[in-house]
């Protein structure tokens, strides 16, 4: 009981601290934050794609490691999409803020799809199952990019 209470306090403190940090963060830093997150997601997602598409030898350990990283990384970028960054030049469309609920639900879809990929990868599932989960995650990325990211 005591332990749970401590954990709750710690969690509450963590939320308060991070919220405080966000409130002060300069918009440019927030954009850096989310772009860094997206870049890392791309970095660890790409090789899984190359492996399931036979462009690279399949290595279940790398898939496991990358999927684990991705499960955490996928939670990060949303934090950088604060309203204060609206006017900073980036590839984010204004709809990110004008239709923030849809945006958030797309982000959630991506996080769920990545979580699924991670579950499959950690369970040591075969390549076909990883490929299916990878495809689902790729679709989730695209669904959000299509509506909320400037077509370059």
């Amino acid at each position: 009981m005591k332990r749970i209470a401590m954990l709750c306090t710690a969690a509450a403190l963590g939320v308060t601290l991070s919220a405080g940090a966000l409130a002060q963060a300069k918009p440019e830093r927030l954009v850096d934050q989310r772009q860094a997150g997206m870049n890392l997601i791309g970095w660890y997602f790409g090789p899984i794609g190359a492996m399931v598409q036979d462009k690279m030898p399949y290595d279940a350990n790398v898939v496991k490691r990358n999927a684990g990283y991705l499960a955490t990384l996928s939670m990060m970028p949303i934090e950088g999409f604060q309203a204060s960054t609206k006017d900073v030049k980036s590839d984010a469309k204004p709809e990110v803020w004008s239709d923030h609920d849809t945006f958030k639900s797309r982000m959630k879809d991506m996080q769920d799809a990545i979580a699924k990929l991670n579950t499959v990868a950690q369970a040591g599932a075969d390549k076909d199952a990883v490929k299916a989960a990878f495809g689902g995650a790729g679709k989730a990325c695209k669904a959000c990019h299509d509506d909320f990211r400037v077509k370059k």
Binding site: G42, F45, G46, I48, G49, A50, V52, Q53, K55, K131, A132, F134, G135, G136, A137, G138, K139, C141, K142, A143, H145, K151, K152
Partner: protein, 237 residues
Amino acid sequence: MGTPDSSNQPHGAAQVSARVWDLPVRLFHWTLVALLAFQLFSGKTGGNWMQWHGYAGYTILALVLFRILWGFAGSTTARFSSFLAGPARAVEFLRRLVRREPVAHASHNPLGGWMVVVLLAALLVQAGTGLFANDDIATEGPLARHISKDLSDRLTTIHYWNLNFILALVAAHVAAVLFHWRVLKENLIGAMFTGDKLLPADLAREVAAARTASSWRALALVAVAAAAVYVIVKPVV
């Protein structure tokens, strides 16, 4: 070419069926239709479809290269020389269209001929940029690694916008054949299936006398086109 492309025979004059499209042209046309539909679907859906988007793109590239070769070495009606007309004839044809005077053509009419060339060029641009494109998720064309990310992004932009151009061309093409069908009572769609068009007798005779290239030659040219594409896209080992 000894084929006069048009006839001034009035509507309703005796019409004779003539083989105007050889089998390779028809197969090319409908395979392309199916593949373009697939590309639209796969490109918009993403995920694991992107792998097949790539393979279908290579196939389209090979088909277009084949069609260009066939435009020089195919049956008479398939050749560029029998359907590429100057602007004056295109304008004259358009004038007749507006007056709803049907003008029979064995091959493509002067406007349709330009549509073919522009469509083939647009498809080459689409397939060519696709080889260098990236989707910023997990897919890139087989040649993207040879160029900078910045250039790949710019070619991806062309790939994206050129799609709209192709869709506009397809819409114009479909609208035109529907116009021929409903207004001018010419069934060009059926001709692309059966290969046969109803033509005024004199024109039909000319077509019958014109040269038909063998399907074996087409197969050989398809092999040449496919080999060329393979050399371009083959994975590094």
